[in-house]
Symmetry: D2
Subunit: 326 residues, 4 copies
């Protein structure tokens, strides 16, 4: 018999990012992207989109430089949490349980082989709207904000890795992610991979870091689901001095209707403007983008991505310095 799929990780629960300019970063997420603040603790502020169901999906922590704090995954049950923790422990990458965070119960901390900090958790605190934010739309946890062009929910995270294979293998073998699409170079290695535990094409993507950085973040992505909202927020970003990286445009890979900008703290943020496509096939064969097919994969229609798109991550690596490293 063939091995059955693992269903133990259910979803991307939240992401923590570091910002050297927390006030400006919060202005970006709250005033332009319409996110809601749900708490503060130490140097951190908790935020969520208006259709995020839990206490928070974003934690912004003041730090000397931009970058990834950690990525948290929720399992599909308490037992599933135990199984995945055990699987992680076997690799020696586990760091132990942590039980003093707002918004969720005990989380098991670990890193990817490259060093990205991650957590697995089961117990979560649901957001409870105060009376004035309650909506008759009972499947929505709160009213739609009337600030900015409000994002609906956290979609995915994209991480850069100094070496692809061990990190992709780790996500697949220890956590049960499925490889959905990947870029296969002529030399037989992968330049990028999109992985998911749900019908989304990815909750996590991994890209090789051409500057040889360790554990850098490429971007986090929030979701609109409506293409018009990428035009709307682009209008507002342009008029409010937000720096664009690329888009709005359409990737072939994952069929993402993308927009990439830099939040004032320096982290790249993607907004996702349509529904992409969903994978329900339980025996999905990964889509392989070879070098000769890649141009349409990167940009299905629209303008090419800038070189910076492939180089820039947070923490930022100085290109000159990188020339000596990479």
């Amino acid at each position: 018999m063939e091995k059955e799929p693992i269903f133990d990780v259910a979803q991307l629960a939240h992401v923590e990012i570091y910002s050297p300019k927390p006030d400006e970063t919060l202005w970006f997420f709250k005033e332009l992207l319409g996110m809601e603040e749900t708490g503060r603790r130490g140097q951190s502020v908790y935020l969520r989109g208006y259709e995020d169901f839990y206490h928070h999906t974003l934690k912004v922590t003041e730090a000397k430089e931009a970058g990834l704090g950690h990525v948290a995954w929720r399992t599909s049950s308490k037992q599933a949490l135990e199984r995945r923790v055990n699987a992680v422990k076997e690799t020696g990458l586990g760091k132990g349980w942590f039980d003093d965070e707002d918004g969720h119960g005990a989380a098991y901390q670990f890193t990817t082989p490259d060093g990205h900090k991650m957590e697995l958790l089961w117990e979560v605190e649901y957001y409870q709207a105060p009376e004035e934010k309650k909506t008759p739309l009972l499947n929505r946890p709160q009213k739609r904000p009337t600030r900015g062009v409000p994002v609906r929910r956290l979609d995915h995270v994209n991480l850069m890795a100094s070496e692809m294979k061990p990190n992709v293998d780790f996500m697949m073998n220890q956590l049960g992610f499925n490889l959905r699409e990947h870029v296969r170079l002529n030399n037989g290695t992968d330049a990028a991979a999109w992985l998911s535990v749900s019908p989304l094409v990815h909750e996590i993507a991994m890209m090789g870091d051409p500057l040889g950085g360790k554990a850098r973040m490429h971007h986090i992505c929030y979701w609109y689901g409506y293409p018009q909202h990428l035009s709307d927020i682009s209008d507002i970003f342009t008029e409010n001095g937000i720096k664009f990286d690329a888009g709005p445009g359409k990737h072939g890979i994952s069929q993402a209707n993308f927009l990439y900008v830099f939040e004032p703290g320096g982290n790249r943020v993607e907004l996702f403007g349509d529904a992409g496509y969903l994978i329900f096939d339980p025996a999905w064969k990964p889509v392989t983008w070879k070098e000769e097919d890649l141009e349409k994969g990167i940009i299905w229609y629209g303008s090419p991505l800038p070189q910076e798109f492939f180089m820039y991550g947070t923490p930022v690596i100085d290109h000159k310095k990188a020339a000596n490293i990479g």
Copy 2:
């Protein structure tokens, strides 16, 4: 320990509908909805949307009256198929294996308590595009058609049941569906339920049949994912004499951006115009729409549904006759 969720049914694989006017029905699905014909056998024609990956998602079979042929579910593995077949067998509703169909391997046939015909299957035949329909968008099984306003994929099926509880329980207990939203009447019974095995709010909905019919179909739904396409197809439907039932509009329940029309054979067809919302929470608590909240649930904004929406299903029941039955 709490019981873990069942992940054995992976997706809605295809639906068979009966049509007394097969030529007109095919014209509707092929010329207006841009679907592709992939085969014919006996009195049946096989169709798929351009982002449906398998041999077919719709089988149109000539018959004396409109109605549901059957609904087929694909499991998440061969082992999962065995487990679900065993679970169905325990209920006495199993009918046995059938192994002579185009597009998939052996299917286990059974009925819901109400009598809707269903199948469980694992092996499927993937659609292979001929050279002239191959697309450089490698995650799309064929080029986007240039006929009509082409639908992308099958989304869900909505069935009417003479009695709700045994049928909903059957879907949950035997097949592992999760209750996502439901309408709870003041008398404590459910008038409608939306169930899924994936982050979609439903692959199947069930509604009480006010005319007391058995095993009727309310509608099948194909998916666009872009609101504009509901306007586009509405233009074309109106100019081509297609009868509207309701919409375009927005349900509160499931946040569906809906359009309901009748294909020329008499079956109701829904087109789904946006991404709705997706459920990633593995411990999702069903959203309960009580009678006092229901108005916004049925129509979040827009015009009320016509009475016919709640009464009409296929096979069609004559209202006068029904008055004596119901």
Copy 3:
């Protein structure tokens, strides 16, 4: 030689409405529709959309009951103003010059035969954005607001008349409006007419008042130009308790993608979600909707309009009382 068209009236400049609840009315226009306040004077507040170029397009004046204050038309030149004033004077409906208003120069006041107050003017004050609202989009008078779902510009006004013909004739003969579309009843009279001086299908519509009211207003309309924004504002209207009249939907007449709601002061407000169609043909023959074609004209696709749509105007007429009048 045929008579040449008159090009003397150039555009709808602004509308004044009365509100018995000015604070709530202002909240509606400013917080939900993102309009900008540009001044206050006496019991009046001046507002504009972010792509309205002049000092104001809406004047909200506190009054005992909802209704139309006045409608102001800008001419295409100083000479054109004189010509139109002379044409109005000939009818005996002129009231004289008024030169003490914010935002524009001397205006000639008059009424339609039914009694709707109107003005003709040439000199206008352009809106000057303060430094923090200046945008690099030089054809936009200010930054797009980040409040609500901001409307772009005033589109048209729709007035009810106790008798159609004299009022439509007045707009055409005295002011140079072109009849673009009209509803022709079997008895040979018009039930409604859409008139314009530009390629827009209408800057003004007139509808017969079935309650026999005099000089009532049916609605004013602001313009988005993007269908998604009708969905967005519908979400926000529903969650903020705004009463809907009809839509979102699509009229056949004028191809308008409409949404009608009541602002808290009681006036009906339309939001216009797409570009409709434009009339560039200088010899346009009016589109005539006869009774037998009218259903598709009123609703091209979507749900029928409620009866209230045809009866309700401001000032509000009590239906019972109306039964004796009408």
Copy 4:
């Protein structure tokens, strides 16, 4: 008294383009853009969009190389035609009356100073839909086609000129066009100008020809009015091998939601995806884009235009050869 505006030219009536590959050019316009063929004569085929009211808006004529045939303007009356013909005659650029064309009456032929062939005409033939194409949408001249992603109407033409000033002056002084926006270089000359006789920002744009060509065409533009349709047609263009020039994107200038591709004959074609903004102000002051503001004017958000955008026109000029000319 100030001089009053001229209202003599009413609209862009049609454009003739040359194609060395007429079959492929017709496939592009008919199968992908859903245009309708309304006649053939000699080496020419007549086409129109489904909301174009006249016999044709596009004439495709077989020729050795791609380029502009001619541009035809309809006046606002018979008298207006006479006035404009007289104004043109004064410049010595008139060529005389021509009265043997399908779809319209006598046309007065002339050229711009740069040599672009143009016509003025008054009498037009209206398109009459055959029974099977008649639509209940009475303001639409025929049913919406179910082929490709059908364009609605001709929007504008963009011409390149070896020298800007005499050509822009000619359009303004002889034909009554209004300057709406222009690019003003630091040396005091204009690099580009957008002119119109209606609230559209332009029925004609003129750009300096950096290769020193004479009377070249930059592009013709057809109009959708819905942003989604640029995504839809981009999908289809990509899958059908159409070469993209730029977009989908958003110009600051004119607020155009653009997409530029090359039809198989080599002419650049723009599709216009939204409503842009409209100019109703009769005293509009041209928007001046200085070099320091220009970046946002060219691309409001999205990726920069390729260099080719500014160089390529039809007839095509060989760049090397051009290096000697320009």
